[in-house]
Each structure stands twice: as structure tokens, then as C-alpha cells.
Amino acid sequence: MITTAVQEREHYLNESYGIKSWLLTKDHKRIALLYLFTVTLFFFLGGAFATMIRIELLTPRGNFVSNDTYNKLFTMHGVAMIFFFLIPSIPATLGNFFLPMMIGARDLAFPRINLLSWYLLVIGGLFALFAMLAGGVDTGWTFYTPYSTTYSNSWVIATALGIFVAGFSSILTGLNFIVTVHRMRAPGMTWSRLPLFVWSNYATALIQVLGTPVLAVTIILLFCERVFHIGIFDPALGGDPVLFQHLFWFYSHPAVYIMVLPAMGVISELVSVFSRKRVFGYHFVAYASMAIAVLGFLVWGHHLFVATQSVYAGLVFSFLSYFVAVPSAIKVFNWTATLYKGSISFATPMLYAFGFIGLFTIGGLTGLFLAALGFDVHVTDTYFVVAHFHYIMVGGTIMAYMGGLHYWWPKITGRMYPEGWAKLSALVVFLGFNLTFFPQFILGYMGMPRRYHVYPDEFQVLHVLSTAGASVLAVGYLMPMIYFVWSLKYGAIAPANPWGASGLEWKTQSPPPLHNFDETPVVTEEAYDYSTVIGEEVQIG
């Protein structure tokens, strides 16, 4: 009965057909799917590079690829994953799709700019792909001068241009989100009623808008220096390579928060829905997002503790770095407290949320290690750092991204994914992830430098463990790819609100109609009020 009703109704997917209806769409939902498709491509591309890196590191000798190729592999892994997957991942797919729906809007404020930002990502991606196919780039994703400007003999310019263009995609998405949240909220949708996913995307948008332009101008300077040899960072002319690092990290440290803040937003949604409770300390979690966005701009110098930065600057940056710990801790504690006396379901998205909280906790706490100056001197530029940021970016962001995809899949596609397979894959991802990256903490403390093609024999056992974990992880990521596609045709038809969730996006049909709502919703209740969704009230405790 539900089936026929759903199939007869018009929604954003069957409202028009043909390539043109997608490539020229101004519908935020379709643009979100274009993004989903694009970033998935880059995720598997980056994953392929990672696979080759891990195979190479099975043995201490460089006998799978040459050192030159290895350097290109880790550089392209970083470029593909960071600039073309992680940064656009949650905001541009899940955010694009659900931010307007969650605030009761028909679309983003600037739909044409939204489409433009997708095209910019694609153009940037094509530049980067061209560089990869033409021979690759070997500077590391950090492009440190003078190696990138003078010494590297690879496709630095094409890659940098790709990142430059993709940067504008990110800026425009951020701009669109900020204006949308300010100007497009439905009647009654006050700031303190905003879902936390909206708050965190708003905070992310601030970073995108304030940070990315600095990366853009840095890339322009890098470009000038490499092409014209004019010496803005060239020590031979009195330039300062450390200035490049300041400019680069002014963006690239906050960029970590571009990746993880939206993930935190997803987790807030998941934890609330699957324990059927309002997020504990809603206001604190919301303000924590804003605090992270602001404080994130004050700490970039902790990447430069051994880079011949002044000792006093190191002191200030270390001190400020610890301030970020507080809002992050607030979030973790509040998520945990939300579970207290809840009604906790073990649906797949919740498993990913548990995974996120655990791995993010480890990633965050090891961040405290790295902010401790005397300790950082030993472990910086080692596998300790590699492990730390993979706990944040893979254990954090990708876990949340997967959790969010499962959670919203029924809304996006109108189909349910197979729960059993999904639970299995969540488990496989969690185990594979830890096996891959936990040994790297030990490797790092033992002194294994990052970006090493060959390494001393005594590190091999840990590297083998890590590679074993990576193959498990790869299976964990391939499984959803397969069953998601499978579900498009064979999945059960999804009801409008399969989880008993309270957000506005669940108050419309699955998949949503072209303009999201049949009529503009009027909001009269706080966020995460489940009493109207679930009829019966049972006290548990």
C-alpha cells in the first residue's frame, strides 16, 4: 500500500530525466548527488594510492615501486583524499542535501552558485587528475618550498591549480551555507532550534570562507615563484621558506576542522535519533562548534615547532592549541551523556557513531600529545602524526560520513540498505581501521619518519600489521559500495521516517519532492523532540 503511494508520487529524482536535467540542475538535492558521485570517485582513487603505499611498506626494501613512484603515491593520496574527498565530503553531499531541508527551506540561497561550485570542484579535479595521469606530483600534499618551487621535477603547477580551483568551490559552498542559514530559515526555526548538523555546517562554512582565500593566494605565490623564479619564498634571495609554512597552515590547520566539524554534526544527529533523546547540553554542543571554528584559526603554528619558528611563538601556539581541547571534550562528554537513560538502538548508523566517538577520542587525545612541545619535537614528522590525523580524518570524518550516508540513505534514495550487511561492514571498518593505524602510533614513537620509501628492518612487523589492517579496511569500504548500489534496485521501499527521527527532513516524503516540502513548514517545537514522533511515552531508568 505504501509502495504504490510512493511510486506514484513525484519526487526530485523522477521529476525530470536526462543528462541535461542533472548537469544543469539547480536543485540542491541533485547537486548533492553529483557531489556524492564525484567525491566517491576520488575516495576510491585515493584509496587505490593508499593500497599501493601499504603494499610497498610490507617490506623494508623498496621492491614494489621505485622511490620516485612512492613519493608520488603518497602525495597524490593526500591531494585526492584531502582536497577532493574529505573537504567536500560531508558539507557538499550530506550538507548540501539536508541543510536546506533541516531549516525548512526550498533550496539554498544561491542554487546557481551551488551548481557552479560543483563544476569548480570537477574542473579542479580534472586538473589534479591530469597531473596524476601525466606523471604525478611528488611534493607531498604540503607543497613545502623550496622543494615545490625549485627542486621538484613533477607536475606541481597543474596540481596546485587544481587545488586552487577546488578551493573556490569550497569558498562558494561555505558562502552559500552561511547566507542560507541566516536568511532561509522557516518560520519558527530560531537559532536555538537548529539541528546540530546545521550548526556544525555553519561553523564549517565560516572556516571555508575565512581560511580558503589564504590558501588561494599562497598557491598564486607558489605558482609565480615556480614559473618566474621571482623569489618570494626563495632563501637565495632572502625569502623565508617558513613564511610559506605559516601561510599554508593558516588554511590547512583549520581545514582539519572543515573535515571534522561536519562529522561532529552528523554524530550529534545520530546519537540523538538512535537514543531518542535530545542531545545532552544542546547549547554547549552548538557553541562548541563555533568555538572550534574560531579557536582553530589560532593554533596553526603547532605544525612548525621544529621548523625554526621562534621558541616564543611555539609557546603561544602550544598554549592556544590546548584551548581547542575544551570544546572537543565538551562534545564527546555530551554525546556520551545523551545515551544516559536513552532508548538505544543498534542500527548501523549508531554503530558508526559509536565508532566515531571512540576513534575521535583517541585521535583527539593524541592531538594533546602533539601539542605538548617537548613531546612533539620527538614525534613530529613521524608515523605518530600519521596515525593521529588518520584517527581524526578516517576514524572521525569517514566514520561519520558512512554513518550519515546510512542514516539518510532512505531519504536520499527512497530505499533501505540491507541492515545485516551494513552492520557487518561497520564492524569490519572499525576493526580494520584500528589494525591499520594503531601500530603506527608505536612506529612513530620508535622514530619511523613519515614519507619513507625504505625503512630499517626493525619496523617491519608493525608495518606488516598495518598493511594487514589496510586490506581489512578496504573490504569494509567496498562492501557498502556494493550493497548501496544493490539497494537502489532491490532495497526495501523506505517510509518517510524509518528511524522515528524528529528533524524536518523526515517530515516530508522519501525521496523528497522537488521543493522539499509541499508547503513551507512552521516550526513550533525544539530540536530533537521525539514526543510527537513516538506516540507512547515510557519512562525508563
Binding site: 533550496d107 532561509m184 570562507v209 593566494v217 623565508d240
Partner: protein
């Protein structure tokens, strides 16, 4: 809200896009969007201002000598030209707010001409720099202020790299602005902008003034600071 829009179909409602409920909401959103875009521009030029400040603090002497080699009178004249173009731009915005369709076109054309003059003077200055071998590269050479004053060519190149990067990116923004003005003139001639609907004129005005503000800082930093040393 939406039902209030059932007014006679004049240009205002035609210009209302479907995601908005009211024209006021649309104008607010566009204005906010423009301001946020200008913030990104502040940060974009901010990187250059940072590089300038860092190197100037490291090599104040050379920067003073290099700065003195630029013709301050062209710079000052160009500042006046650009400020005048800001005046004509704001008068164009005013004309649009009052719905004076012919005046909009007139002031926009004046703004465009002044922008062109600015770029022309800028081109002349760059050409002078080329003649004087002040373009960073193998042929670069900057003379000292007197025979006893040998200038560190590397540091002087840093100054001119920044000079060309900063004035170049500024000029690039002017060119974009000129393109936007052409579009406005074209539309304004068709009588597109009225007292009710003039958001594009308003927004491009904001952009033009912003580019002006950047120049307001470039002028003293590049032309004026330590000029007295070169007397």
C-alpha cells in the same frame, strides 16, 4: 508571504527566484552574500599584506630604496582617479535607488572610463619598471640611492615581486570590475534597474568600493613609506 506577491507583475516579482519568499529576503540574502565574498577577498589580499609586512620588517632599508624608485606622482594621481570612480559609482547606485534610469547609465559609463584610466596609468607604470629593469628575474637590477649604497638585489627583487603581485592582483580585480560594469551598463540601458529592483548595481558598487579600499592601502605601503629616505 508568498501570497503577498500577487501584485501586478512588474519587474520586481519577475526577478524573484523560486527559493525565496519575498523580494526583501532575496535582496538581504544577496547583500549578505556579497559582503561575505568581500571578506574572502580581505583574506585573499591578507596573505600578500602578510608577506609584505614580514619582508619589510626583515629588510627595511632595501624596501625603502626600492619603494623610492617608484614614481609617487603617478601613484597619487591614480589614487585620485580611483577615488573619483568610487564617487561616480556611488552616484550610480544612488541614481538606481531613485530610479533615474538615464543617470544610472551616465554614472556607470563615467566609472568605467575612470577605471580604464586607472588601468592605463598602471600599465604605463609597469612599462616604466620594465624599462628600468625592475621586473624580477635575470635582468633585474636596482641602483642604490648613491654610489656608496649597494643594494642587495635579492631583497630588492622580493620587494618588486610583491609589488607586481599586489598591484597585479588589484588590477585583475579592476578588470573583473570593468567587465561587471559593462554588464550593468548593458542592462541599465534596457531600463532593467528601477527604484524597486537595483540589487546588481548595489552589489557591484560594493565590489568596486572594496577594490578601491585595497588600493587605499597599497598606495601608502608601496609608494609612500620611507619615501623621505629617498630625498
Amino acid at each position: 508571504m508568498a501570497s503577498e506577491m500577487q501584485l501586478p507583475a512588474h519587474e520586481e516579482s519577475l526577478a524573484l527566484r523560486e527559493q525565496f519568499d519575498t523580494a526583501a529576503q532575496q535582496k538581504d540574502a544577496s547583500t549578505l552574500g556579497m559582503w561575505i565574498f568581500l571578506i574572502t577577498e580581505i583574506m585573499f589580499f591578507g596573505g600578500l599584506f602578510l608577506a609584505y609586512t614580514v619582508y619589510r620588517s626583515m629588510y627595511p632599508g632595501v624596501f625603502a630604496v626600492a619603494s623610492t624608485s617608484i614614481n609617487v606622482y603617478w601613484g597619487a594621481a591614480n589614487t585620485v582617479v580611483l577615488l573619483t570612480s568610487s564617487l561616480t559609482m556611488v552616484l550610480a547606485v544612488r541614481a538606481a535607488q531613485l530610479g533615474q534610469k538615464r543617470l544610472i547609465v551616465l554614472f556607470l559609463i563615467l566609472t568605467l572610463i575612470l577605471g580604464g584610466v586607472f588601468l592605463g596609468v598602471k600599465a604605463k607604470e609597469w612599462y616604466d619598471k620594465y624599462e628600468e629593469h625592475h621586473i624580477p628575474g635575470p635582468a633585474f637590477h636596482l641602483e642604490g640611492l648613491n654610489p656608496d649604497n649597494v643594494v642587495s638585489q635579492g631583497h630588492a627583487q622580493l620587494f618588486f615581486s610583491l609589488y607586481f603581485a599586489m598591484t597585479g592582483l588589484h588590477a585583475f580585480h579592476m578588470v573583473i570590475g570593468a567587465g561587471l560594469l559593462l554588464y550593468l551598463i548593458f542592462e541599465a540601458r534596457k531600463g532593467r534597474y528601477t527604484a524597486e529592483y537595483n540589487t546588481p548595481v548595489d552589489l557591484i558598487g560594493l565590489y568596486w568600493h572594496f577594490v578601491d579600499i585595497i588600493w587605499i592601502f597599497l598606495f601608502p605601503l608601496l609608494y609612500l613609506i620611507d619615501r623621505h629616505l629617498g630625498k
